[in-house]
Structure formats: structure tokens, C-alpha cells
Symmetry: C2
Subunit: 248 residues, 2 copies
Amino acid sequence: MNPLDATRTAARDATRPDPCIGCGGRLTGLCQPLDAAALDDISSESERFAQPARSLLFREGDQASRAFSIGAGIVKLSRLLADGKQQVVGFRFPGDIVGYGASAAYPYDAELLTAGSFCKIERRRLDALLRRYPVMERRLLDMCLAELAATQEQLVTVGRRSAEARVASFLLGLEEAYRRRGAVPDPLPMPMTRSDIGDFLGLTLETVSRTFTAFKKAKWIEEPAHQKLRVLDRETLGDLAEGIVQDL
Amino acid sequence: MNPLDATRTAARDATRPDPCIGCGGRLTGLCQPLDAAALDDISSESERFAQPARSLLFREGDQASRAFSIGAGIVKLSRLLADGKQQVVGFRFPGDIVGYGASAAYPYDAELLTAGSFCKIERRRLDALLRRYPVMERRLLDMCLAELAATQEQLVTVGRRSAEARVASFLLGLEEAYRRRGAVPDPLPMPMTRSDIGDFLGLTLETVSRTFTAFKKAKWIEEPAHQKLRVLDRETLGDLAEGIVQDL
DNA sequence: CGTGCTATTGAGAAAAATCAAACGTGGTGG
DNA sequence: CCACCACGTTTGATTTTTCTCAATAGCACG
């Protein structure tokens, strides 16, 4: 299970006029299991919009009255602590649902790392849809279970692995996140800063930077341009992530 | 959200002859929203049993063909890494569901810290029940969302807090876990070892031990007996957990 | 009454954080 | 269009926290 992306999505045969929640035309999100009639029904309940990079989808503590489905873009979910430190809870990709949780207020900030397009739905309405379409609720449960598994995996990474293992794990996870959604771009877009990555892995930005430098020197990765990544030695990074070897 | 226990349970009016899944007579788990007819239905699908302390409910990698509901006892979920290190993913309490996840194999060991009693159900049958009783599926989704929030909270604790803050957070979380399930026993049973706690918090057992000693010296907690805990200064521990003060 | 865990305590080592400085670079405005 | 500025990144020196290794002590259980 890859902590970077929570939901698993299977490609679907038909290509329908992009209907609604979590479907960037590829029908890969929450609506994936629905039939045409249901999709029409749902379109009327939800609203699409776009936002620029670095803007906030919502803030920690805001009333959690809306859920969002990512059509395009990458979202960072993060909590700010009393002493100013930050923990990134996860990154979310197209097809993922953001903002649907157990509590009445959002438990973290959601910030766009890239420009993005979304589908917004009132929580109340989404709950009604879930009652009406049990396959949709099933799908949401499966997405939630996948996200839980990913978060537990991330807990292992942060709790018990060395700095190099954490960074290796992040890099492979990023690649895996793209793989799950279809073809892997080459090079991979990597819109997160060293600071974002550090806050995700429980490390400082300096440690992340040093580790990137070391990985580049070792030719395990390269950064052909700003915010572009190419994984050159998947094998070694995997061993490093697992702690089978502890190089550097 | 308390990372120690994932599910929130509301007390219920009627006290029925203990029916099935996750109901230690208190009807607090997955079956909480069901009516009498449904409960009868479900009883026939599930099987009860008990196990002694320190035994395994299942092992990481086992075929995940059964889910378990905890009637009594405390369960530790943990992953073993290649280098022998261990990460405790969470502790589970009566009313919680264990072993129902996204993947075909269990992603962690489940070990009883105390003697426990359980309700076992084939995954296939549980899935059928979920289709038959949408309120049950809804309940499972809510439990999953709560568990996700708790795990994210734990990620913050492990990723960004000091050793003392982590231990303080654990102690308050333990108390909160009991509070959620009714009256808080005094003193609190704390069946986990220093090593279990360390593996939960991403610390060594020595660091946990030292921190406990310091907290006892400061009179913020006491251990009136082996594996018994009393929280004496909730206030200070809370400030410490939040990083508002960094004592010691 | 041993014996095997679990816990405590100490000393030293190591990993990562912190503090600090300089460098690139992308974006903005003159 | 170019210069400048803010921000992200890199790199180095030093400090701190926590880990590791080690030895002892306390208990529960057989």
C-alpha cells in the first residue's frame, strides 16, 4: 500500500461525458461504479470549479460541510502544531476524495501544490446520495480502507525508518501514485518543496535536501528540471526503503 | 481524535441478549444501529470464541479471510520490519473491528495484550451482510473514518513531537480510550509494555522508561501497581503533548 | 526459590536538528 | 527586457536529542 495515494482505481471501459464527483473524464473516483442514470442524478448535486496553485481548498477548523473530489492537481493535507511545526498528513491526487471525514470540522489544511480542478458537493447531499446508491457507499468504504492502509504504512515509515529510508520510500511512493492512475510521466512532476517532503516524512528540509543530493550523486535519481524527478535505480531505493541495505 | 481507539460508540437504550459482532453485551460495535430481526440474522453468521493473553489473533501476511470484533480485551496491531524493528500501528479495544481491510492479506500482526473474547465472521459473509443491511455498512464507514482520523493524529505525534510530548499524548489517549467506552476505571489498566509503547510512539523502550520515571517524579502520573496507571495532572500532560510547554 | 522477562539507570555514540551563510532561480515590476 | 527580490535550495559547523550498549534491579510465574 502506498501512503502517497490512498485510492486504487481500475480503468473502465466506457468513456462517458465527464459526469461528476472525482472523475477527471476518466471516471476513476467515487463515481467509478455507477451507471448512467445515477451519474446524471449526481451531476445535478455537485459543482465544478478550478483553483490556482498555492491556494487553499479549506483550512483546519473550518466547518466540514463540503467534500471535494480532485479532477486535476495535487493537494497537500497538513496540520499546523502549536510550536509552528507542520505535519503533512498526505498528498492527494486526481480521483481522490478530500474533506469527507468523521469530525464536524476539517482536521487539516488542504493546499493546492499545482493548479487544480475540483468537484464540490455538500456533505449533506453526498450522504443522501450514499443512501440512494449503495454501490457508491461501498466504493467510498473501499477508498477509506485503502487510505487507512496507506496512512498506517506511512506511520511505519515515519516511526521506524532512517532518514534515507524515508526519502527512498517517498520517491518510490510518488512514482507508484502516478502508476496507479495510468501511464507514468517521464520525468515525474514533483510539485512539493523539500520542506513539504520533510513535513511529510518527519524530517527537516535540510535533511531531505542532503539526502536528495546524496541520491543524485549515487545516480539513483535525477532532477532534470525544477520539480521534475526521474527514478534511475528503483531496485536500490527499494532495498534502502526496506532497510535491507543502509547505504550512505 | 484519539489515536489509541478508533471507533466512537454511543450508548444504547435497550439491553438485548448479547447478539453478535462487536457487542460485548453493550451493543457498542458494528451492530449498534441494527434492529432485532437483523441481529438474529447476523448471529447465525458469526462465531464467538476466547483467547488467552499474548496469543495471536492473526499474523501479518495471513490470508485476510476473516474479520474479528472485540468483545473484551485489548489487541495490539504491529508490523515487523526487515531489520527487526517493530511499529505498532494501533491498539484496539472492545467494540472495535479488526482484520477488515483493503488488501487480501493482513498487513500486520494482531496480538492480545490481555485475555480476550471475540466474534469471528467470514469476510465473504460480512460483505454479504453489508449489502443486506445498509445501516451496517454506514456504520462500518463511520468506524473506518474515525480510525483514519485517529491514525492521522498518530502520524502527527510520531512525526513532529518530542519524546515527552509523545508519551504524554499516549497517556491521555489511553485515558480517553476508556472514557469513550463508559466509566473510566481507576486506576487504568495499562497492559502494554514499555517496548509496546515505544514501538507505538517511534521511540526506544529506554526513552519511554526514562520519560515515565520523569513524569512520576513530577507527580503527573503514578503507577500504583504493575500495569496500572493513574493520571494525576491532565492539564500539564495536555500542554506537554501539544508542545505548549516543553518541560523536563 | 530460582529464572526469565520487564523495567530502570547510566555512559557514550550516532543520527538528525539547529543555526548560519551563500547560491540559484523564477517571478515581478520598473 | 532586464534587474532585483523573495523564496527555495544547498552546504557547512555545531548542538541536541534520542539511540545504543551495558549492567543491575524488580517481579511474576513456575
